[in-house]
């Protein structure tokens, strides 16, 4: 978990640059991702946080170009992996990247594995495809991967079908599948959301442990700030298809500067007083096609001014690696300081209870 934050001049492992992913629908163009930039360094874990519909999953699926097109369309920007723009690759070249250099695990372990193939075969298939291993060697690698993700009796389990396994075990299989070719980047899209709390902690521990051993960069997509506190080095907060705040993880919990980030934190169970109703963010994420001229969060924000409604706030650097897109960030920062958050004292405890 050592972030190489200081090596700014090295080409980053993965760089999302002003990405715009739009969907052409009958109701018009939906700008699901509208000018988002972030970078991921080797060995680092980057958290992408936001409510449902904020575009965090679409960004991730854009990286692997797994969105059906049409309706999805890249309207601008670039996704550079080790300096190569993935958007310019052919489908054939892209297939060599998927599951090999960049892998992905999904939210639903119950439905993300093919029910009619043994888990060993599903892992072996990837290895045979990307590393040209024979059937036997690929199977041996599958068993080895199952052992690596701490599945007991991997030899026997490899010959089993997904329905014979629990949700937590299936997510371990998904991780084994994703890491079988030792990728440089692992995109984890809500990997623990569908699991119960004790299993969540185990899976996060496992990912951290595997990252220490294999050294891949991880993009952790989640709506759960507990997960972020638990395992991320840096965090990008997204709202309505845009990046609203980015900061190193301690900095973000210390000094959240965007009202949306603050609201997200306030609605976490560990932040609220015991027994009382959790504060919620009023209103809903606006549909991307309904966005006005100003800040997308303005209708739900307690700090809104005339200016917020009129023009979109630009992303502004406010400290080392900390940037925020809010005109009222200073005011928000003052209020934050008045209400110290429990994360400052014990982030790991907060993560475990989320």
């Amino acid at each position: 978990m050592t972030a190489s934050r200081d090596l700014r001049d090295d080409p980053p492992l993965l760089e999302i640059d002003e990405l715009r992913t739009h969907f052409d629908t009958l109701a018009g163009t939906v700008r699901s991702v509208d000018g988002v930039s972030y970078r991921l360094n080797a060995g680092e874990t980057l958290g992408i946080v936001g409510e449902s519909g904020c575009g965090k999953s679409v960004t991730a699926l854009s990286i692997l170009r797994l969105l059906p097109s049409p309706p999805a369309r890249f309207a601008g920007g670039a996704i550079r992996f080790r300096g190569i723009d993935l958007l310019s690759l052919s489908e054939r070249e892209m297939r060599d990247i998927r599951g090999n250099r960049i892998s992905m695990i999904f939210q639903e372990p119950m439905t993300s594995l093919n029910p009619v193939l043994t888990v060993g075969r599903q892992i072996a298939e990837t290895v045979m495809l990307h590393q040209g291993l024979g059937r036997r060697a690929a199977w041996a690698r599958a068993v080895e991967m199952l052992r690596l993700v701490q599945i007991a009796e991997p030899d026997r389990r490899a010959a089993e079908y997904p329905h014979q396994m629990s949700g937590g075990m299936r997510q371990r299989v998904m991780i084994a599948l994703a890491l079988a070719c030792h990728p440089d980047v692992l995109i984890a899209d809500e990997p623990t959301t569908a699991l119960d709390v004790t299993i969540q902690a185990q899976i996060l521990d496992l990912l951290r442990d595997l990252q220490a051993r294999l050294g891949m960069g991880i993009i952790m997509i989640t709506h759960d700030l507990g997960v972020v506190a638990e395992c991320c080095d840096r965090v990008v907060v997204m709202y309505a298809g845009r990046k609203v705040e980015e900061a190193p993880v301690e900095d973000l919990f210390d000094r959240p500067l965007h009202p949306y980030t603050r609201a997200l934190m306030a609605s976490m169970p560990s932040m609220a007083g015991g027994g009382s109703r959790l504060p919620e963010i009023p209103g809903m994420v606006p549909a991307p096609q309904d966005l006005g001229a100003g800040c997308a969060f303005a209708p739900r924000c307690a700090f809104t001014t005339e200016r917020c409604r009129r023009e979109p706030p630009p992303l502004t650097a406010v400290g080392a690696g900390h940037a925020v897109a809010c005109f009222e960030a200073e005011r928000v920062g003052c209020i934050t300081a008045a209400f110290p958050l429990p994360f400052q004292t014990s982030p790991s405890q907060a993560g475990a209870s989320a």
């Binding site: 990247i97 999904f106 993300s112 029910p115 009619v116 193939l117 298939e125 079908y161």
Partner: protein
């Protein structure tokens, strides 16, 4: 193993009900069966004698037991019209019918499954639309109409294939096949339409599943991904093939008539016109038995396609 035995046991009541219905058929028809069989010109004595010969003067349950007993001994009775044992009559007629049925179904599966998968893969495109238009046309055009058009075009005008009739496989592969091409292509169109639509719908459904996204995220190519999808779509497709085989029994009658093939279908039509009940009964039993057997095999095949059914 117990699963297999259970499935086999479940077919017994079905066959029993079929046997009773087939037996009662002769009694359910209006009037005196003996008079019906004897025909318009028969005298009262003739009918009485026939009743004695056929055992129709016995109580119903007694007749049923005797009939079942004979069936169990392999005696299907004697054709009233031709006087030939039904078993040997069927034996002659079975080869053409089975040839048509097997060839038609094989052709239908070989064409429709790839076509359906292609349409699903290209859903919404002009390829998909073309395939679906073909399916609707093939499904809604009467078999006999296309049959006569085929005969006129390929046999009479172009002279590529024989017009009508059937040549046994024993007399050579090509003569046999050449007589079957037109009737089988003709008859298979309906099943191609049915199976293509079914395959397309099922595969399209499966393509939206999460594990297909996983397969693509692994870096698999289009063909491998479609392979993953097809395996999961197999059960509805195989089921439809089974239903298709059931309908085939009706379809063969039309084909055999249009192409003048002396098969079981023609035998049934002739026998119905002649009130030849022993033949009708045997064919009904045979086709019901085939249907039950095919469904049993399909039930059992589910276990090959889906490991969750084995558990």
């Amino acid at each position: 193993m117990t699963y297999v035995l259970r499935r086999v046991a479940a077919t017994l009541p079905v066959m029993a009900v079929v046997a009773i219905l087939v037996f009662l058929l002769i009694h359910l028809s209006s009037g005196d069966p003996a008079a019906l069989i004897a025909g318009d010109t028969a005298t009262a004595e003739d009918i009485a004698r026939l009743r004695g010969v056929l055992g129709l003067d016995q109580p119903l349950w007694n007749q049923f037991l005797r009939w079942i007993g004979r069936l169990a001994g392999g005696d299907l009775g004697t054709s009233i019209f031709t006087g030939v044992p039904v078993a040997s009559l069927l034996a002659q007629r079975l080869e053409p019918t089975l040839s048509i049925a097997l060839l038609t179904m094989t052709l239908a599966v070989l064409v429709s499954v790839p076509l359906g998968v292609l349409a699903a893969h290209k859903a919404g495109s002009w390829v998909d639309r073309l395939v679906m238009i073909f399916a609707v046309l093939a499904f809604s055009t009467p078999v006999f109409l296309v049959g006569y058009l085929f005969i006129y075009g390929f046999a009479i005008r172009l002279g590529w294939l024989p017009v009508q009739g059937y040549v046994s496989l024993a007399k050579g592969f090509w003569p046999w096949l050449s007589h079957l091409i037109l009737p089988c292509v003709n008859l298979s169109l309906v099943y191609i339409a049915l199976l293509t639509r079914m395959t397309r719908a099922t595969v399209l459904d499966v393509l939206h599943e999460d594990y297909i996204r996983t397969a693509r995220a692994k870096g698999l190519g289009v063909v491998a991904v479609l392979g993953h999808a097809l395996r999961n779509a197999a059960i509805p497709i195989v089921t439809t093939i089974g239903v298709g085989i059931a309908f085939l029994i009706g379809g063969v009658v039309v084909s055999e008539t249009v192409f003048a093939i002396p098969g079981v279908g023609r035998l049934v039509i002739d026998s119905v016109q002649r009130h030849d009940y022993p033949v009708i009964q045997s064919v009904l039993l045979l086709s019901a038995g085939m249907y039950v057997l095919i469904n049993l095999l399909i039930d059992l095949s589910y276990r090959l396609f889906d490991p969750r059914i084995r558990a």
